[in-house]
Symmetry: C2
Subunit: 125 residues, 2 copies
């Protein structure tokens, strides 16, 4: 049948590289007018408007009128589902880091015990 409606799914909304660009840009400023986004990213204006529309539908950004320009701001909370999902895997990377650190520390300890011993294997001399 059909791909999962990007309009209702945060994961699909952030799948688009340019939408992530927009999000990244917005995250570095409290709010931005469409024109600024267009100029900064160098994308065609209709494209930006359409991507902002998707992000708006999902709730990732919100708009407010300021004169004749529309100012967009990022709603960080809406990105939390992504963080919560991916977060469950970070233990693997962190464990990996822990392992590396532990090994380094063990090695450093061995070094300090016998400064002239070869790095490789202590063995029984």
């Amino acid at each position: 049948m059909a791909p999962t409606h990007t309009t209702t799914d945060v994961f699909s909304a952030i799948a688009e590289p340019r939408r992530r660009q927009i999000i990244d840009l917005l995250s570095r400023h409290r709010c931005l007018a469409v024109g600024t986004i267009v100029l900064t990213l160098g994308l065609p204006q209709p494209a930006v408007s359409k991507h902002l529309g998707v992000l708006r539908d999902v709730g990732i950004v919100s708009v407010s009128k300021h004169g004749q320009q529309r100012v967009y701001a990022l709603n960080h909370e809406q990105l939390r589902p992504v963080y919560d999902w991916i977060k469950t895997f970070d233990q693997y990377w962190n464990r990996q880091l822990d392992r590396i650190r532990e090994r380094a520390e063990r090695r450093a300890l061995a070094q300090s015990n016998s400064p002239e011993a070869p790095t490789r294997k202590k063995g029984t001399p």
Copy 2:
């Protein structure tokens, strides 16, 4: 033109809910045969095979032959780009939490200083 090729983009690969289901399942087991995934998730076998194909192309999972079954395992590292990207926003949520905690602590402190004072505003009595 066309949507971003899911085959080369981790973000697009994880946009599919059922693929996330498969990833979740695989993350809870060191490795799983296709048949097990089919039975566990209750999805049609061709669907599972196809989704696994996408995940395989992106490198999120890897296969090995065991008899006549293909055993899939999750490559956690491949999910890191997603974590790295979303992680840059977690400061907002955490700051929010910090703010809440700090306020609670301040309130608790105020309470302990004047146990009978109203919660609202200390003022000059």
